[in-house]
C-alpha cells in the first residue's frame, strides 16, 4: 500500500457488521466514508451522515406534473381543440382520462427516479471509478458489504485507514488508485460498451431481417392483420346482406340536423323565419333558388321555368295571391316536405338555406307587386 493510494476498502460479511463499523470508521476522521453494497440498506444514509436524498421529492413533483400534463393534454385535445363526441359521453369526460393519467404519472415518476438518480445525483457518466476495477467489486455486486475511506487531501494515510477498517471488523482490506476522470468518450469502458450495443443492434437487425425473409411462415404477429373487420366499399361476410357498409338505422338523425316541420302544412303556419333580412341572407337565398327552384318555378317565381314545358307538370305560380298570402312557415314546410309532384328538398338544403329561400321568394313576390313607396325606398 503506497501513500499515494486514493482510497482503502474494507470488506464486511453482513450488513449489520457494516452498519456497526460505520460510526467507528467515521470517528477516525481519516477521510470521507463511503459504502458500497449489493442493494440499498435502509438507514445507511443517516449512519454515513449523508444529506437526505432529494429524489423522493423530485419523483413526487414529477409524478403530479405527469398527472396534470396527461389530464391537460387530453382535455385540450378532446374538449377544446377537436371535440368529438364518442360513446355518447360529453367532450371533457375525466373518467376516460384516468388510465392515461395513471400511465403518464408512472412514466414521469420512474424516468425521474431512474435518470435523476443516475445523472443528476450520481453524476454519470463517470466510468473510471477505481472501485469498478477493485478485487472487491465481485463481492459488492453479490454478497459483500464494503466500506471505503477516501482521501480528502494529500495527507491521507492509507495504512492508518487500513488499520481502522480492520479494527472495525473488516475481513479484507484493499487500497485503490485514484479514479480515472477522463472525459466521456475517451474511456475504454464507454467505447467498448457503445461498440457492444451497436454490434448487438446490427446482429439483431440482420438476424430479424433474414429470419423473416427465409422463414416467412414465422410471421411474428399476425393478430392485427387477421382480425375480422369491416372496410368501406368492400364486401364482408359479417352482415347478412354481404355488405361491409350498412345503412343507418331507420330514424337516424345527423347531429345538428334535427327534423323540422314534421306535422301538417297548417301546423307549420306558425313557424317564424329565424333569419334576419340581410344582404348575405338574400344572396344565399338567391343562389339556392337559382340552383334548385328556378327550373320549375321560373326566374321571377311565376311558375314558368325552363323545364316546365318539357316536364308536363304545372309548378305553383308563387306570384298567385294564394301564395302571397301564405305565412313563411307554410312555404318552409313545402320546401322541407315537398308538395304534389315537387319532391322534398330537405336532404339538399341546410336549415339556414331553406329559410333564406323563403326570404328570397318573399322578395320576388314584392318585386312583382311593387308599390310606389317601394320605388322610393329603392331609389333613395
Amino acid at each position: 500500500m503506497s501513500e499515494t493510494s486514493y482510497s482503502v476498502l474494507g470488506v464486511f460479511e453482513t450488513p449489520d457488521a457494516l452498519m456497526q463499523a460505520i460510526p467507528k470508521v467515521r470517528a477516525s476522521k481519516l477521510g470521507t466514508v463511503e459504502a458500497y453494497t449489493p442493494y440499498a440498506i435502509h438507514g445507511i444514509e443517516e449512519a454515513l451522515g449523508l444529506r437526505r436524498s432529494p429524489l423522493g421529492g423530485m419523483v413526487l413533483v414529477m409524478g403530479i406534473l405527469g398527472a396534470i400534463t396527461a389530464f391537460g393534454f387530453q382535455y385540450w385535445i378532446s374538449a377544446i381543440d377537436y371535440p368529438i363526441i364518442t360513446g355518447g359521453k360529453s367532450a371533457g369526460s375525466w373518467e376516460a382520462f384516468i388510465p392515461i393519467m395513471f400511465e403518464v404519472t408512472v412514466l414521469f415518476a420512474t424516468f425521474t427516479a431512474g435518470l435523476g438518480m443516475l445523472f443528476l445525483l450520481n453524476k454519470l457518466p463517470f466510468f473510471g471509478h477505481p472501485v469498478l476495477s477493485s478485487k472487491a467489486i465481485k463481492g459488492i455486486t453479490r454478497d459483500r458489504y464494503v466500506l471505503a475511506l477516501e482521501a480528502e487531501n494529500e495527507t491521507f494515510d492509507s495504512q492508518a485507514a487500513a488499520q481502522i477498517l480492520r479494527a472495525a471488523g473488516a475481513i479484507e482490506v484493499e487500497a485503490l488508485p485514484a479514479p480515472d476522470r477522463s472525459p466521456f468518450l475517451t474511456s475504454d469502458y464507454i467505447l467498448r460498451t457503445l461498440g457492444g450495443i451497436f454490434a448487438a443492434c446490427v446482429v439483431a437487425g440482420l438476424a430479424m431481417y433474414f429470419l423473416t425473409k427465409w422463414f416467412p411462415v414465422l410471421a411474428p404477429m399476425k393478430y392485427m392483420q387477421e382480425q375480422p373487420r369491416l372496410n368501406a366499399q368492400k364486401p364482408s361476410s359479417f352482415f347478412k346482406d354481404g355488405h361491409g357498409m350498412q345503412q343507418p338505422v331507420p330514424g337516424t338523425v345527423a347531429r345538428g340536423y334535427l327534423p323540422t316541420a314534421t306535422g301538417t302544412q297548417e301546423e307549420a303556419a306558425t313557424l317564424v323565419n329565424p333569419l334576419p333580412r340581410t344582404r348575405e341572407v338574400f344572396a344565399t337565398g338567391r343562389k339556392v333558388y337559382t340552383n334548385r327552384c328556378e327550373v320549375c318555378h321560373g326566374a321571377v317565381g311565376n311558375g314558368v321555368g325552363s323545364l316546365t314545358a318539357a316536364y308536363g307538370a304545372k309548378p305553383a305560380n308563387l306570384q298567385a295571391q294564394q301564395f302571397r298570402d301564405y305565412p313563411d312557415g307554410k312555404l318552409y314546410w313545402a320546401i322541407v316536405n315537398g308538395k304534389n309532384s315537387m319532391p322534398s328538398h330537405a336532404p339538399y338544403l341546410s336549415e339556414p338555406e331553406r329559410w333564406a329561400v323563403v326570404h328570397y321568394v318573399r322578395a320576388l313576390q314584392r318585386a312583382q307587386n311593387a308599390k310606389d313607396e317601394d320605388l322610393k325606398v329603392a331609389t333613395r
Binding site: 450488513p15 449489520d16 440498506i41 435502509h42 423522493g56 360513446g87 355518447g88 373518467e95 376516460a96 388510465p99
Partner: protein, 381 residues
C-alpha cells in the same frame, strides 16, 4: 390489571347495550334494515378474519421470513372466522327479506330466470356453508398447526403449511368470490361485475393488514413482541400503502368500464350510488380509502412511524366499514345512520374487541417453535 378488567367490563357493557338495540331494531326498525345491518357486520367480521388468514397463508406461500415474528397476530385475528360461522348461518334468514334472487318470483323475472337456480335459497345456503367450512379448514391447518408447533417445535409444520398454502390460495379465491357475489352483489342480482370478488378481496386484505398493524402497535405499547422493529412496521406500512392503490385501481377499473359501456343493467348500480346523498358518501369513500392513506403513507419515514401507522390503520378499518356499508345500504334507499346502526356497531365492535382481547392473551406472542423466527427477528430492510 384492574384497568384491563375495567376495559373488559366496559366492552361487555357495550355488547349488552348493543344487544338491546339490536333486538329493539328487529322489533321497531323494520326487518330489511335489521338484516342489512346484520349482513354488514357479518361481511366485516368475515373479511377481517379471512383477510388475516390470507396474510398467514401468504407468508407460508412465499416462505417470507420477515413476518414470522408478527405471524401470531394475524393468526389470532383469523380466529374471528369462528364466530363468523354462527353469524353467517343466522344471516341466511335474511335471504327471503333482502335477496330478490331467493324469492320464488325470481324464476319468472326476465333478467333473473336464467340465474334462478344459482340464486335460489337452498343453493345459496349450501354455498355459504361450504365457504365457511373451507375457511375453518384453512384456519385449522394453518393456525391450529402453528399453535401446536409452539409446544412440539417440529419444523415439519413449515413444510406442511408451505404445501397447503397454494391450495389455500385457490380456496381463498373461491370463497371470497362466492361471498362477495352472493352476499354483496346478490342484493342486486340483475347487476354483475366480474371483478367484484377482487374488489372485495382488496378490502378484506386491507382490513386484515390494518388490524394486524394496530394489534402489533398495541402489543408493543404493552412491552410485548420484543424484537419487532421499524423494519417490520415498514413492511406492514408498505403493504397497506400498496393495497390502498390496488383497491382504488380495481374500484376505478370496475367503474370506468361500466361508465363507458353505459349498459342499463350495469350502470344502474353506480347511478344509485352517484345520486342524491349517496354521491357525497361515494366521494368520501374515495377520499378516505385512497387519497388520504395514499398521501399519509407515501413518504418512506411515514411507513415506520408508529404514530402515523396507527392513525392510518384506524382510518383503513373505518374506510373498510364505509366501503361495505356503501356496497350494502343503497338497497334501503337514502343512507341510514341512526340508533339501529349504532347499536349494531356497539354490539359487534364490542364483541369483536372482546374476542380479539381474549385471543391476544392466549399462548405465546410469537411462533416460538418456528425455525425461521430468529431469521425473522434479524430481518433488515
Amino acid at each position: 390489571m384492574s384497568q384491563t378488567k375495567n376495559t373488559t367490563n366496559l366492552l361487555w357493557g357495550a355488547v349488552a347495550l348493543g344487544a338491546l338495540g339490536v333486538l329493539g331494531s328487529y322489533a321497531a326498525a323494520g326487518h330489511e334494515r335489521f338484516w342489512a345491518n346484520w349482513i354488514l357486520w357479518f361481511v366485516l367480521l368475515f373479511t377481517l378474519g379471512l383477510g388475516s388468514l390470507f396474510i398467514v397463508a401468504l407468508e407460508h406461500l412465499v416462505s417470507a421470513k420477515w413476518s414470522v415474528p408478527i405471524r401470531r397476530i394475524p393468526e389470532r385475528l383469523a380466529t374471528l372466522l369462528i364466530p363468523s360461522v354462527p353469524i353467517g348461518l343466522i344471516a341466511l334468514a335474511a335471504l327471503p327479506v333482502l335477496y330478490p334472487g331467493s324469492r320464488p318470483e325470481a324464476a319468472h323475472h326476465p333478467l333473473l330466470a336464467g340465474k334462478a337456480f344459482w340464486l335460489s335459497l337452498p343453493f345459496f345456503s349450501v354455498r355459504t356453508i361450504i365457504s365457511l367450512t373451507l375457511c375453518l379448514l384453512g384456519l385449522w391447518v394453518l393456525v391450529g398447526g402453528s399453535l401446536k408447533q409452539d409446544a412440539t417445535k417440529d419444523p415439519a409444520f413449515n413444510f406442511r403449511a408451505r404445501k397447503f398454502a397454494p391450495a389455500f390460495m385457490a380456496i381463498f379465491a373461491l370463497v371470497i368470490t362466492l361471498i362477495a357475489f352472493d352476499w354483496l352483489s346478490g342484493l342486486t342480482p340483475e347487476w354483475y361485475s366480474d371483478i367484484f370478488g377482487v374488489y372485495v378481496f382488496a378490502g378484506a386484505f386491507l382490513s386484515g393488514l390494518a388490524a394486524t398493524a394496530l394489534a402489533v402497535l398495541h402489543l408493543q405499547d404493552e412491552g410485548r413482541l420484543e424484537g419487532v422493529r421499524g423494519d417490520h412496521l415498514y413492511n406492514l406500512g408498505g403493504f397497506l400503502f400498496a393495497f390502498t392503490v390496488f383497491w382504488s385501481y380495481i374500484g376505478f377499473a370496475q367503474y370506468m368500464l361500466m361508465w363507458y359501456a353505459n349498459l342499463p343493467d350495469e350502470v344502474i348500480w353506480y347511478k344509485v350510488r352517484l345520486a342524491s346523498s349517496w354521491r357525497l358518501i361515494t366521494l368520501t369513500l374515495a377520499g378516505l380509502h385512497f387519497v388520504l392513506p395514499f398521501f399519509a403513507l407515501v413518504t418512506r419515514d411515514s411507513k415506520k412511524d408508529p404514530r402515523r401507522l396507527r392513525r392510518v390503520a384506524y382510518l383503513m378499518l373505518g374506510a373498510h366499514v364505509l366501503d361495505v356499508y356503501w356496497l350494502i345500504f343503497p338497497i334501503l334507499g337514502a343512507p341510514r345512520l341512526s340508533w339501529p346502526e349504532l347499536s349494531f356497531a356497539l354490539f359487534f365492535l364490542g364483541g369483536i374487541l372482546l374476542w380479539i382481547r381474549g385471543a391476544m392473551q392466549k399462548g405465546e406472542d410469537m411462533p416460538v417453535g418456528d425455525p425461521f423466527l430468529r431469521e425473522g427477528l434479524e430481518f433488515r430492510l
